[in-house]
Homo-oligomer: 295 residues x 2
Amino acid sequence: MTEPIFQRLTLIGMGLIGSSLSRRAKQSGAIAREVVACDLSADACERVRLLGIAHHVEPDAALAVQGADGVVLCVPVGVLGEVAARIMPHLAPGAILSDVGSTKQSMLREIEPILRRDVALVPGHPLAGTEYSGPDAGFSTLFENRWCLLTPPDGTDRGAVARIGAMWVACGARVREMDAAHHDRVLAIVSHLPHLLAFTICGTADDLADETRGEVLEFAASGFRDFTRIAASDPVMWRDIFLNNREALLEMLARFTEDAQAMARAIRWGDDAFIVDKIERGRAIRRSLIELNQA
Amino acid sequence: MTEPIFQRLTLIGMGLIGSSLSRRAKQSGAIAREVVACDLSADACERVRLLGIAHHVEPDAALAVQGADGVVLCVPVGVLGEVAARIMPHLAPGAILSDVGSTKQSMLREIEPILRRDVALVPGHPLAGTEYSGPDAGFSTLFENRWCLLTPPDGTDRGAVARIGAMWVACGARVREMDAAHHDRVLAIVSHLPHLLAFTICGTADDLADETRGEVLEFAASGFRDFTRIAASDPVMWRDIFLNNREALLEMLARFTEDAQAMARAIRWGDDAFIVDKIERGRAIRRSLIELNQA
């Protein structure tokens, strides 16, 4: 049998992503000889034990990373720096440190200054998720046919990048490397802005007079229902993403707002051609998505 | 056997809604003795004939309505007035005229001034649809467990309202009466604004530099995919809805934009509590939707 990618892989944070990666790694055998699961919540640790999705469960992150040649931080991006600082002195020499966060420039800003010279940093972001969270929400096929984006800074050890890439390929994902700033712009438009709009429209509806609000719920047509599905996601995770991808997100929101105002103006003045053109572009993007088998 | 609701029901416009209603009426027997389908497109008429979803197919609306005691206009709201003017002289005395449009004040504005005194007007709006269009897209169960909103003006013959309501109940829908202005506000927030946002974000993404645009399609995360599903809907229908519900839609967009700007400010200044509160409200609305079995 081929050697697994890691001897001991420690996953910190047993949410949807961490517990899915743990399940896959424990099932596969090709990823790691041993999987160590860590979560600061005693309840989460207990669930992981009962589910049997890791070889070891260790609530203390400093202990959990000892002897691990691979460590993946699967915590909300707002606590990445804090968790990294806590484990840094305890990492094994030569260990590879990665993460799964949705914002990559903030990750580098927080972790690069405290990074040990004998540890390789390979930031990662699997584009996968559901509106559910916690250790019970995970499943081993979550990453299949999904992208995982890696944003290693210049000069990162290529062997370390290859091993993290191989881990995601073993999870069924496709891997692409890109610059962290570019990653943050792309994600701002494909994911962070849509979520911001979804949360916002729910609030706008909630602020309407009571009578209308009840009817909003009662008569929710397909558009609003789709929006609220997005809006059901985890609040802390999304707060952290918004705050940590501030610049790109605010820029995309500004562009979007200009475009929405242009549409409002066209509606006010009855500019048929403008409106139809915008709608047609939406359909064209939809067709492209279907052609790319992403829909 | 009980008498059907109508002796002769004419449906003008064989899109998703018209062809679904035609299928249901032809199957049920309780709705009408005879179903007459009308569409100004020769192709659509041919498809209806081949599909066998009406008893008669008549491309000329003036001929199609002759002898009908029920007429439902299933055309985009932008041509409602024109079609109503065309058929008005040919309607049978005592006929009931209805529609299925998404904007009700505009419908009343266009049709009430030309309405014959011996014809009853019962505006209707079934809250049902898919992102597909045309006679082939329809299906007889489209309206099951969906709402149909009726907005009859004051003084409308109650017998006529009851018959149109009974038609929708026979389609499996739940019926509610409300004021046209109130209808337009509720629909602006649950349906029209979500569609406007979806069309707009597709355009915003499409305007990004070429390199990023390709990646938007490639990496479209779940948020963006859900938006583009909405954005795949029929352009002419949506243009007409936007233009005909202008006031309510622009008001809801203005409220939404204020809320989005407040969120942007909270992100810029790191106001954690504000952001989490907005996200929690989205989740609460989602939970309410699930409780109402609308999700």
